[in-house]
């Protein structure tokens, strides 16, 4: 009986600690965001190619692409893509800082992580406000 219980307890024990085990930290979150935005940007290049090819295909093809990007879904997609682009860009800058051997102290790491998120949101808003005002 006791051995069966201990066997069950053993089976429940996490054999390979993963994300759900660890306490979330800013640096961990921004590391995950960096890879997640990378994958979003990767898939999103399909839309970049679609936009450029439609432009090269003539007025009719471009009109349907423009309709898609001008729709609410298109705007949402472009807004999210802008943020992913800015976040991955700033995350890359953060990696450059680390590549030069700086910014590894805990306080610096957390500051850089927070700046990455705040900066990406700020830059995204600036781009959209400027683009919409300049329209």
């Amino acid at each position: 009986m006791a051995s069966a219980e201990s066997a069950r307890a053993e089976a429940k024990r996490p054999l390979s600690p993963h994300l759900q085990i660890y306490r979330w930290t800013w640096t961990m979150a921004m590391s995950i965001f960096h890879r997640a935005t990378a994958i979003v940007l990767y898939v999103g290049t399909v839309f970049l190619a679609f936009w450029l090819v439609s432009l090269a295909s003539g007025a009719e093809a471009y009109a349907s692409a423009a309709w898609f990007f001008g729709s609410p879904v298109g705007y949402l997609l472009l807004f999210a893509y802008t943020w992913a682009l800015m976040h991955h860009m700033l995350g890359g800058v953060r990696h450059f800082v680390w590549d030069f051997g700086r910014g590894f102290e805990p306080s610096q790491r957390f500051l850089l992580a927070k700046l990455t998120l705040a900066g990406s949101i700020g830059l995204t808003l600036v781009i959209w406000i400027v683009a919409l005002i300049a329209r």
């Binding site: 994958i39 940007l41 990767y42 290049t45 090819v53 432009l55 090269a56 003539g58 682009l85 781009i127």
Partner: protein, 134 residues
Amino acid sequence: MATRNSIRTPLARAKGLGASGGGTDHFWHHRITAVSNLLLMLPFVVIVALVAGRPHAEAVAIVSHPLAAIVLSLFVVSITIHMRLGMQIVIEDYVHGKGAKIAAVIANTFFAIAIGAASLFAILKVGFGFGPLL
């Protein structure tokens, strides 16, 4: 003759390619394209924002400007190389079966080249083909 404290052969040391067979090229090219992505980001965003919402003729006029076409071409080349290298790291982290890993890495390369070729062709066609004629 100097004594060796490593099981690596002198030839392997001289080549400096390590276990991957590719040396530090992957890492280094990832960083180089990160720099070029960073430099091209502002002009890319400006061009897209300028083109957005305009009818075809005006969009073509902007993209066919040599400066815009060159910047867009460089950006497309830079990001497709960068994303191919990046996605290969993700694949190597998460895909463990040897066959599946090789297949995924090849598919990744094909995807990056397809996106790059289609985008480049489109930019060049707009740059050469329409422009002032329209």
